[in-house]
Amino acid sequence: MAAYDPCVWCEEVLQPYLDRHLSERERVEAQAHLDSCGYCAKRYRFEANLRQFVRQAAVEEMAPELKQKLSALRTPLL
């Protein structure tokens, strides 16, 4: 078995951790590591900030004209 590096493992589970898709045992293990490792904790906080930033940055509102065009597609009342 290869040498076990907790930071390598922690990087591997970053996404499922933030998605809350880790098993309880893995979550506790990751949390224990993050509590004692500033290197990984900083990168996890960055990832959380990044996700929020991507969500905000990706927003582009619909043009009002499009909304009118969509309404015009409704079935006319008889």
């Binding site: 990706a58 619909m62 597609l73």
Partner: protein
């Protein structure tokens, strides 16, 4: 008026009411649907065309929607199918040579470039244009998963239903897609390796 004519008239009235309700609910969701649509395609024009095709189809086939289920997911299912049917550009093969970058890669590159070792300052290095540009460089299949889950707030299960693929595939595309996105962001914000 005969009894059957009366029943028929009532049915028509009920049907019209249900249809109007459906149309109103669908239109109320248009802003949210557009936010997802806009990032599934490259240009505003493509997104607008797709929205119009989607709503035209939704209004025609409103009877196939089951009331009480997720209408936003139903609309996006139509939209993603139309997007794929349009024969979107040939998939650019992901640059597999660089796919092995892990989840810490972007942070490491940004920290190195800024000299700041504070995650708040490091994320400030990225601009809105960086994000939009990097996202458009992510290959379609991966981008669909990211856009639905991380921007559209759909669960893995909902994204799987919308895309018509297994949940496990959504998860693997999402994980790989986010890594590709971070690699693209690193290239955009800091320049090539």
């Amino acid at each position: 008026m005969t009894e059957s004519a009366d029943t028929q008239a009532r049915q028509i009235a009920v049907e019209a009411r249900d249809r109007i309700r459906f149309e109103e609910e669908a239109l109320e969701l248009a802003d949210q649907v557009y936010r997802v649509a806009r990032r599934l395609v490259r240009t505003k024009e493509e997104a607008e065309d797709l929205m119009q095709e989607t709503y035209a189809r939704a209004f025609r086939s409103w009877r196939s929607f089951t009331p009480g289920t997720n209408l936003r997911a139903w609309l996006l299912r139509i939209l993603t199918n139309l997007n794929i049917d349009r024969g979107r550009r040939v998939q650019r093969e992901p640059d597999v040579g660089h796919l092995e970058e892990g989840d810490y890669f972007l942070y490491n590159r940004l920290e190195e470039a800024t000299g700041a070792s504070d995650e708040e300052r490091v994320v400030e290095r990225l601009s809105q244009d960086d994000v939009v540009g990097a996202l458009s460089e992510v290959p379609h299949d991966f981008r669909d998963a990211i856009v639905l889950v991380d921007i559209g707030d759909f669960s893995y299960q909902e994204a799987a239903q919308i895309l018509g693929i297994p949940v496990g595939t959504v998860m693997s595309r999402l994980h790989r897609g986010r890594r590709i996105l971070k690699r693209e962001l690193a290239e955009t914000a800091v320049g090539g390796a």
